[in-house]
Symmetry: C3
Subunit: 570 residues, 3 copies
């Protein structure tokens, strides 16, 4: 890892021309990031890039296999989840190709790549240069110039040289290279730092998530939850590392790759910004059992109006202008979540309050705090693009209180099951609860139990309780957050109510069973203490439940009583 | 409420000019409504509007908090659910603004409002006036003239005066006002009666749902289920009023607001009719656990062809012409459900037969009746726009019989659980069944149990049974109604089958448990009646299950038997 | 059936002109089909059509009610599921109409039909003839000529005669007829053989599914699973035939009609090829509990990019050119599943490996076989349109291994429940397990149990186990196959994990119950063997559990012991 870092920095240092005194003047990159990187805002692009890159590739700061790395082995597909750690150039492909040869050969080999690329801005930089102020994408002209400034600073572009195109070889070998690429040695996959070489502002913005999201009482680790550290968040889950079914564990990795790559949102190889502004981009990951953001949005008034009107939206326009100039009549995921204090950036977590998971310890209490109020105010500012402040505040209060109701309901159920656990009464708790695989430690109602199970670990009621929090409470909250009314009936509350009812039912049945077992035990105690005790299977008189030994074929003296009591013990 | 009514009527009466003898000539408003309002068809717009408004605002006829009003308090967001009851102008905004100032200031304050409005017909009335017969929306020209006639009748528009625009101030203060609006006093939200001032025909059509939907044996209250009384239907649910988690209760309110407002279907502030003709409008509410209309439609052939072809539909054309002239190759929700005998109106409930909930008492029997046959014939007429009559009737029969099968399955399960209830055998029924909050009354398998639960109220099996009817039977029926084939496997029948199996399983287990308890009781009875009885906990001889008292340290005479039997009682 | 075949062939034979020596030169029809039909590739269209038709209509080869036909009766809607078997012309319609009269009358009677048809290619054949090479649909010109060649071969079109149109009468009576159609005698619905009269290539392609899908160890019947025999696959399910709820059984038929008809994918009456190239076509059937293909695709990167970009796709272009020329930036269902070795055909099952159902016996083992490897290679070729071979192979391995993990988990659960079954311990297994309706045979964990249930057949745990395989394992596999990441958490694994946990929990509880029952039995055995035995209900001394008879009002001699032991038996 460290080697790789120096290799890349080395490439940079050896660049043909060293950049001038250009500043990396990116007002959208928050001060927290400059501070964390120990840079002034006057830093030049090269300084900013190198500082970001060093941190980005540092295993101590989240790169690579993570703190449980020794427990898990990659699968062959892992090279696509984390190319910096696992990808190796293909040994079976012998071609050493020029820029033009890449395109020519892959037109046959993988036509989809080339067709998409040919439509892309990457293949048509000159079109960008010819844009005029009346074009929707005129803003891209300045962006291209900024990118060229960055590349000059990095020594990747000569003074006065213009970038001709961004082709296969630029991302998969080296930007603006004049050399040939040897498949067996040179081919790399484009990771976030690759994209960041040109798109430094965006790279810095997304990396800033590490710096801006900090929690008053460490409810979450620093910099999380965020896209910038989502791979770390994945591989440092103990059960991820511990479970033997690697392809199941990697189901989570499928989404937790934004730390490593940009192509979740910017699908290759057209990399259309217009496309990445559509809500369906976010749906790829923000959907499902414990992050039903897409389901909630897409059935809300917001999402359904988006569906009805989107064909008339002008997605070429920058998000900040979409409402006023782009005909955007309903919010996209992006227009609310990428916005912070009126600016659109790649830091998506600046307004986070609940962080999707209301049950995380300390989150609930934190909602009434200055920390949270500041973020609430930022949300209200977002909403007032289309709503009154009164409306926005009334809704935020509604959402919070609805979530509190869910938490209370969960607490009631938790109390019941936890008492069973403390009394050792969960099904099989004392007889059939295998330990989870290392590095996972067993415990009551743990995350690992939705991934891994064996014997009676977890108990059914325990898993139900966990899902009540992880799935149903989350769905209640997320649906409220997106004003999807299904939270009472369809998801969320109805499911929590059902879980509570079933948990209560099981608890009452358990108590009845225990009562019955006690009655039987009492009867057994009585039996063992009664005068004569016969085994029914062979008609012989035995010594009750005391072992199976001592056969008595005759009579038994009353004197035997006290001794048998002791043996019976219990 | 009453005050508000007179205030509004007062405004009307004081209008600058009284209307001439214009008739409110709305053939799409059913006779039932004229009868209910005690009006002739020769009534002028003012008479019609005032009669509608009086009823609309009358608490005795469904306005406001409802018959359980004393049990529940509004939340701050309630002002948006029922503005007529809860909305107060914002005290913190001091501006007193002209028509133009509203727009100017809100261009900055809430740009989404203004941008949408500027695209709307409301902001471009002159464009309507210039339409020619070859324009798709030419019909709007006549509609605008009708609206102006109405406004003249109401004294809101001078003779010969044209409506210039419908801006912020017209809906949020008073239509066509020349005055300034004082935010702290004058601002109102637009409720259905506000929209109805201009859109009188549509207001009358939607209010007619109160009159046309009547049930032969009062299976539902008069005028319900309908959009016209959907708020009443919500707040007069006992558990809505009784539960303490107000934001959860209001999850239902989120949709049950069409009585109060028009903007569920006509989203503010573009109020595009074309948009409101798209199926995704209905999905906002008609989706979810117990009204899966959207899910069924959108995975049916109808809904999926809509998805494939809709970009070619001309939504500017009136629904009645959509198939023949608008390229509409698949039904929208609106084109089937707003149609009745060839006409499209805002009364959506005229063909109702099953009313979504087959388990409602009396609904099943009613399907074979003249009442239902008349509606079936109306449905067949709808279907023959694109199907043969034979096809339509075969399908209706198929749908009905499939629903009957579901009802039968439900009845079997009901019988099992109900017997348990009658025998007092539901889990915790005699030991841990707290009463629901007032005004809710406890009972077997009640609606409140999917909202509220405590202790063993409801029992798990009881809730499962209820959901079998409320969710799964409904999903079976609704899927059949929309020809979504998933009703056998994915939703509906499969879920009912599963519920039946689990209920049967629980029942058998319960019987086994009872049998075992009886055997233990018999043993206990035997023990108490046996010669010697020892307590196993301390090795001392006790008097069995008779209290814990009477310790016997020595022998016990046979003479003791009969007395102990009596004590044991049971 | 046989009669019908000869009738049709008869019509062909009597055609006005016999065709020349035209070959049915269809390279996309696989050799397996020519072999099965005992034809050379030099066969003319007439020979090919007649051979296909004969097989198509042959009950022994899958036409009609199937091998359980005597058990089930059709419903009135069955005529639309299987017109060749059940449709009769409408007796109530007396019109005898010309080609033009059909259109004229139905413009009023069923306007949707006519409006759609008027947009269709069928109504605009001359437009096809005027296409030039620069038109997207130019390929249709040659296709029309092929169709005319076929019709001439069949004697349906005169030498040099051009087909003027394909109107109502052509499909619903006879192609290119000059006669009038009598509704009461002549009207037919268009089945696949009707469409195949003109679209012979496509008919042959789809019928070829019968021939290409064969299984090394008969894991599935020959030619299945496929569209070509999907109706047979439906009606030859024993529980389909046996269950009394016909409309529920026919929920499956709703999709299993592709054997009989083409209009699932080619919706009537516009029959737009462009439309049928959209993924939403497949969603009609390939969605839901045990074939969640649509759900998986539509939330995958593939499906969501399709949603974002599809408005820019040129669906008029043939699928084979869609990526390179049609701007198709994301796969449709069709572009991957209709492709085989670079060609697009109506045989959709040539790359089948898992066949959707990993739990089918022998499927798992078969994945490592030459048979499967050949198909895997074909898949890899498909993927390399847009991915590297390394990527494709890594993913296929990932998918297979993930599915294996699911199978292992299922096996663990199966073992638990199967042991209960073998021991006769399923709930009610010995006391309340009614036999399923004929022709269904009872057994452990059977398919019929998700359709039909009665008493404790199936047991809850047994149904849960079955659904673990039929629904959750399938969802795991299908989600993996479509790279939908929800397979770990949202569907698939999480649900399997939950099922396993609940099954384990039930099993432990069962063992505890059995242990308690045994303890009680021991106590009872003890009681019956104890000196004195009193019945607690009336205070009289009885002979324990031995019958209810023998009242003992006095003392009982020790001599009685041995006899009672024998009576007690057990």
């Amino acid at each position: 890892m460290t080697n790789k870092f120096w290799l890349r920095c080395g490439l940079v240092v050896c660049g043909v021309l060293l950049a001038g005194a250009a500043q990396a003047d990116f007002p959208t990159v928050p001060k927290e990031t400059y501070e964390a990187l120990k840079l002034d805002r006057s830093a030049d692009p090269k300084q900013l890039y190198e500082a970001l890159l060093k941190r980005y590739l540092d295993p101590a700061q989240g790169a690579g296999k993570g703190m449980y790395g020794q427990y898990w082995e990659p699968v062959s597909f892992s090279r696509y989840f984390d190319p910096n750690t696992f990808y190796k150039p293909p040994k079976s492909v012998k071609e050493i190709a020029t820029r033009e040869q890449c395109v020519k050969c892959h037109t046959d080999e993988s036509p989809g790549w080339v067709a998409a690329w040919k439509r892309s801005t990457h293949a048509n930089l000159d079109k960008i240069r010819k844009l005029t102020p009346k074009d929707d994408t005129y803003y891209k002209k300045a962006k291209l110039e900024d990118i060229e400034t960055t590349l000059r600073s990095l020594g990747k572009l000569g003074k006065g040289e213009q970038l001709k195109e961004v082709g296969c070889i630029d991302c998969h070998y080296d930007i603006n290279t004049k050399k040939k690429a040897d498949h067996r040695q040179d081919i790399r996959l484009a990771t976030a730092d690759t994209c960041g070489t040109c798109h430094l502002q965006e790279f810095a913005e997304r990396e800033s998530e590490r710096d801006t999201i900090t929690w008053p009482k460490d409810q979450w680790p620093k910099g999380r939850p965020s896209h910038a550290l989502d791979y770390r968040a994945n591989v440092e889950v103990d059960v991820y590392a511990g479970m033997s079914q690697r392809e199941i564990a990697d189901g989570c990795t499928g989404c937790h790759v934004n730390q490593n790559k940009c192509d979740t949102c910017h699908a290759r190889h057209d990399f259309s910004v217009a496309e990445s502004r559509k809500s369906e981009v976010c749906a790829q990951c923000h959907s499902g059992a414990d992050h039903n953001n897409w389901e909630a949005y897409s059935l809300s008034k917001h999402g359904l109006k988006y569906q009805r009107d989107k064909e008339k939206f002008n997605f070429n326009i920058q998000i900040k202008d979409a409402i006023a100039k782009g005909g955007q009549s309903a919010p996209t995921c992006q227009s609310c979540h990428l916005e912070y204090q009126g600016k659109i950036t790649h830091n998506v977590v600046r307004k986070v309050r609940w962080a999707n998971y209301p049950f995380v310890p300390g989150i609930r209490e934190n909602i009434s705090s200055d920390w949270a109020d500041k973020r609430l105010d930022a949300w209200v500012k977002t909403c007032t693009q289309c709503h009154s402040e009164t409306y926005a505040r009334a809704w935020m209060e509604f959402m919070d209180k609805g979530t509190f109701s869910g938490l209370d309901k969960y607490d009631e159920a938790h109390d019941i099951v936890h008492k069973q656990f403390e009394a050792g009464l969960l099904t099989g708790q004392k007889t059939n609860r295998p330990a989870p695989p290392a590095p996972v430690k067993d415990g009551f109602e743990q995350f690992f139990q939705i991934y891994w199970s064996k014997g009676n670990n977890p108990a059914a009621i325990e898993l139900r309780l966990f899902e009540m929090a992880e799935d149903h409470l989350v769905q209640l909250h997320v649906s409220l957050a997106h004003q999807y009314w299904g939270y009472t009936y369809t998801v969320g509350w109805a499911a929590m109510n059902r879980a509570y009812v079933e948990i209560q039912d099981e608890d009452t049945k358990l108590k009845e069973k225990l009562a019955l077992q006690e009655r039987v035990a009492k009867l057994e105690a009585h039996r063992t203490s009664s005068l004569f005790d016969f085994d029914s299977t062979d008609g012989k008189i035995t010594l009750g439940s005391v072992g199976g030994g001592m056969l008595l074929t005759g009579t038994l003296a009353l004197a035997g009583w006290s001794r048998r009591k002791k043996n019976n013990g219990k």
